[in-house]
Symmetry: C2
């Protein structure tokens, strides 16, 4: 751990997050709509090309840091001296303090996964499964009222998705308090960006919760576990590997979560159920 | 082209496509639901490990063939002698007739893309953009009535998605006739499987149309173009790169397509608009 080193210096590269295009709709009307921007960002580590990420471009420096962390290429952000993003050349230059040991070998393995993009690391992560430690249910738990309250917060959140669709969102919560919300064209970019933000602010995951609009795939579960976040809530569903890994890791997953509805897929011991009135009663209320 | 060679021999490995898990819902009810299966399939080409695909497992042999085709590792399926899938060992053994030239070099480049998984090839494909030829609007076009009719066909389609959610579907249409429908945990697997099916049956793409539940990302556009399919319809939206590439390729994209609604994003010249009654009139009908 190089935690006595200072934090990395980051540029604050900014760029347009949406673009207007002309469409024709079912009424034959030609009109302009906004779509999310999407651009390549080639990451160079100590002048060596590592990978090209396709991103919306909202927080490229945090994305790069989070990518390096979640790919386990660095253990702490303090190992990085600076991240310099230049949209003119679509490049992120990462300068490390002491280099990254056998980076070539550690980025060689390829696994094409269900989730978006960054499955290349998946194989290696599986090997490290045993080393991940999540807080037990005594420390990290969630009440149904907290769950429905944070779903309200998300529903009221202004977003690129509302303006332009076609992006995934990821949010970090402490109880019902929204700490950070990121959107990107790939949901793995979003969670990586949050990883970068947490590391830059020295924020631990044990008492936190992730909200994601994406599916609960094995990669999402794995990344949350790496970041020490024991609970994930998704508007979407779960994949079999995501469910399996979360169960092995002792993580708690909620899916199909919107308004007052949800399914708790696994990790029930962390969940304090406060059941809604039975369906019959709801129907009566609905008239 | 080795097109005088016989078609490859394929196993017909089968496996369960859904799994039952126990959940707790917002009413505090413990009950079983079905989720899609998801399993690794490691592809070996002439005994050399190529990649591990995470898949639902519906048509692994066609998936592997389509993957090799869409990754441009083979030009025709006739270059493959056999594909042997064994779920016991989660492996697909591909035997080629004459090997694949410099396979190592051609699978080295890595790009992490927006779409699911198989973005590793993206960089190379961009280079080949110029070589792709799509039929002009005289040959391949679509009427609004055809579009809405095929959306009806898809709505009535039985699916894993309906049973278990969390999968992407991809369908190949000739006019309103559904030729093939595939679902997988990753939408790129679905389109690759269709590529394998088309190649095994000698079916060209020029007069065909793709329906996908996934976003219209640059990879989806690129793969459809490789397969010679000039029109893609998605229930979902478009990304900026997807839009840009489709425009460059002269492809026609429809998104947000459900029931009678849709947006035509690009390639208007292929689209015969038959406008719906104006919104006002619809409102009156709606009462």
């Amino acid at each position: 751990m190089a935690s006595l080193d200072p934090l990395p210096r980051l540029t604050q590269a900014s760029t347009a997050l949406t673009r207007a295009i002309q469409i024709v709709d079912e009424f034959g009307e030609h009109r302009a709509i906004a779509i999310p921007a999407e651009r390549p960002l080639t990451v160079f580590v100590d002048k060596r090309e590592l990978v090209t990420l396709m991103t919306l471009g909202a927080s490229p420096e945090l994305l790069v840091l989070g990518y390096l962390l979640n790919q386990r290429l660095i253990e702490t952000v303090q190992q990085v001296e600076s991240v310099t993003v230049d949209w003119e050349v679509a490049a992120a230059a990462v300068r490390t303090r002491a280099g990254i040991a056998d980076i070539a070998a550690r980025t060689a393995r390829r696994v094409v996964t269900t989730g978006c993009g960054q499955g290349t690391v998946f194989g290696d992560l599986l090997a490290q499964l045993g080393t991940l430690q999540l807080p037990d249910a005594g420390v990290a738990r969630i009440r149904q009222s907290t769950l429905t309250a944070l779903l309200d917060v998300m529903r009221q959140q202004d977003s690129i998705h509302r303006k332009a669709g076609s992006v995934h969102g990821c949010a970090l919560f402490c109880g019902t308090r929204l700490l950070m919300f990121v959107e990107d064209v790939g949901r793995h970019n979003a969670i990586d960006t949050i990883a970068g933000w947490m590391a830059m602010h020295g924020i631990g995951g044990a008492d936190k919760l992730f909200y994601t609009t994406g599916r609960l795939t094995s990669e999402m579960v794995m990344k949350a576990a790496q970041m020490g976040v024991p609970i994930i809530v998704s508007r979407n569903g779960v994949t079999a590997m995501g469910h399996e890994l979360a169960t092995q890791l002792g993580m708690t997953l909620f899916g199909r979560a919107a308004n007052r509805h949800f399914l708790c897929y696994t990790g029930f011991e962390r969940f304090d159920s406060e059941p809604e009135p039975p369906r019959g009663a709801l129907r009566e209320l609905a008239g």
